[in-house]
Symmetry: C2
Subunit: 343 residues, 2 copies
């Protein structure tokens, strides 16, 4: 086992996670393709366009890896897994993609994963309805496992995610948004699905209550770290990277932590500069650059990333409740890597 890792010393943790979960993920991917099918041909066209557009499938990989951690990852084994991990992993990916379809309509996003968003190609209407279809299929796959407890975890996540999206929408352009509001938004809209993905994986793998709780916590903290990094990157990278343009969140009026911190600590003039650009879809590159300069002066991005690192450490700490193993170490490295991508 150790040899295997030494043979590929430059592989990133994500590459290693891909390799470790490859067998199960092949089944997950086959299931995803078959369940995105329909006699209504827009459905597979749109769904596959999105699903095959180069997302890493981090969430279903986490489900698979969490199950493996408890010994029942391959879905053909003993224990109470019985193949359910494959269904849950595919369901998690469908839930994620349904959310992306609806989010892109709500955010009026033009790009997703480096290419035109589905709503640009097929329109908002099809994006809304195909999102609904994917969500329905996700629940069907879950029901097939007959595992009502895992269904409970994922159905609760589904409601909480939507609630978080509405909360975020209600805070759009709201200069009084607090760091606590932001924390509630990212927990609900992002971290809860990471949590559920890891938790149902652990459950399918036959984890006991402590194991299930450890993985749930791991997923939650990883998800929070992931979103904080994403929100910092929105201001920190050149156009084109991540398929997004710097300042998209600003133009959409999204109240992410860098902006919240800058509004709290900036001068009157700085606040005015931010407020003028915030939520203005037509804000110029110069306006965005001026806001980024304010964020720089106030160290808003490093402070945001420091919070991401806190969550990352909490995720790693949660794993320490479990017996040491190569896979446990890998899951810890995945956290490290998800934060490092900001540098």
């Amino acid at each position: 086992m150790l040899t295997q890792i030494k043979e590929a010393p430059i592989a990133t943790p994500i590459d290693r996670l891909l390799a470790t979960t490859a067998d199960d993920m092949a089944k997950v991917n086959a299931l995803i393709l078959s369940r995105a099918d329909s006699h209504v041909k827009i459905i597979p066209e749109l769904a596959r366009y999105l699903i095959e557009s180069g997302g890493k499938r981090l969430r279903p990989m986490l489900t698979v890896a969490a199950a493996q951690l408890f010994g029942n990852g391959n879905g053909n084994g003993n224990g109470n897994g019985n193949g359910s991990v494959i269904n849950f992993a595919a369901a998690v990916e469908f839930m994620h993609n349904a959310t992306l379809l609806h989010d892109d309509v709500v955010d009026e996003s033009d790009m997703r994963r480096g290419k035109p968003a589905a709503r640009i190609v097929w329109g908002n209407k099809a994006s809304i309805l195909v999102g609904d279809f994917l969500l329905g299929q996700a629940f069907m796959m879950m029901v097939e496992t007959r595992d009502i407890d895992s269904l409970g975890v994922l159905s609760a996540a589904s409601a909480v995610m939507a609630e978080g999206e509405v909360f975020q929408l209600s805070k759009t352009g709201d200069l009084t948004t607090t760091p606590a509001d932001y924390a509630a938004v990212i927990c609900a809209k992002t971290a809860v699905l990471f949590q559920a993905a890891c938790e149902v994986g652990a459950m399918a793998g036959g984890a006991d209550a402590a194991g299930r709780q450890a993985l749930a916590r791991y997923g939650l903290e990883l998800g929070n770290a992931f979103q904080l990094v994403d929100d910092a990157l929105d201001y920190g990278r050149q156009a084109g990277t991540l398929g997004k343009n710097t300042g998209d969140d600003l133009r959409e009026g999204k109240m992410t932590l860098p902006i919240i911190l800058a509004l709290a600590d900036g001068t009157e003039d700085e606040r005015s500069t931010i407020a003028a650009a915030l939520g203005d879809a037509e804000a110029s590159a110069e306006q965005v650059a001026a806001v980024v300069a304010i964020l720089d002066r106030l160290e808003a991005l490093p402070r945001t990333l420091a919070q991401a690192r806190n969550h990352a450490r909490a995720a790693q700490h949660a794993l320490e409740a479990l017996p040491e193993s190569e896979l446990r170490a890998l899951l810890s490295d995945v956290v490290e890597f998800s934060v490092l991508r900001a540098y």
Copy 2:
């Protein structure tokens, strides 16, 4: 029992269904209100605006009545119901309302149930996301029953409904749409939820396989009849009735049976008149009147309603597999009434 009916001879079947299900529906309504709640205040505002806007709650009433038919309607009784009928009825109503919210965005509808649509008051974005929230809450209520078989019925309905909506969208303004395409659309987008509502009610009431099948068939045929009548009424009533304006479907390019029949049997000129107005949001009242005149000449509305009556008879026929009872007779009368509303 007979006396009771004689005391209120002019009550419509819907009034009688309301009276018969009143106790359970009070619980359903309380559950609906509590589950539409959230710390994010747009959610209860928008959800209650829609839910309390005078819909008849026909679908959850059918769930409750179906359970009563098999003796376990009150949700506190014996058998395998154990209160699950209340959860399923509320979940069915949430699924229906989630669909309405998304449909109104997709159809760009301005009115719903005689008042401005939620999307006009709170915007498309909130309507999409609150719809997602209601769907998530619906699944949570279902999971609480721990009845995986009923969950299977409703999750399948959820996917099929979305698939039907996408199919309908893909046929918008498509002059080659066939009566079979239309039948597939209304079955998926409308009848399948009526079917599921009745089926899970029967299951919660402790029905055997034959009883479950009878109620599923009853719901399916009633739903088909219901939608056919709705689609005829869209061309057959004065503005204001039903909160819709005559010709809305025409302006939206919706390929309903009256239009499909007229396109098949009309003259070249008539087809051109229809094609010119179809899908034109700005089509004038004169254009709509011209199309209605064509429908009249070709008897497209009576022919549509004849199909509705066929489905209605099939719904009533499905009930005949069950022992005679007052409630069975009432469910039969409900079918009659749902078709009669067209006259």
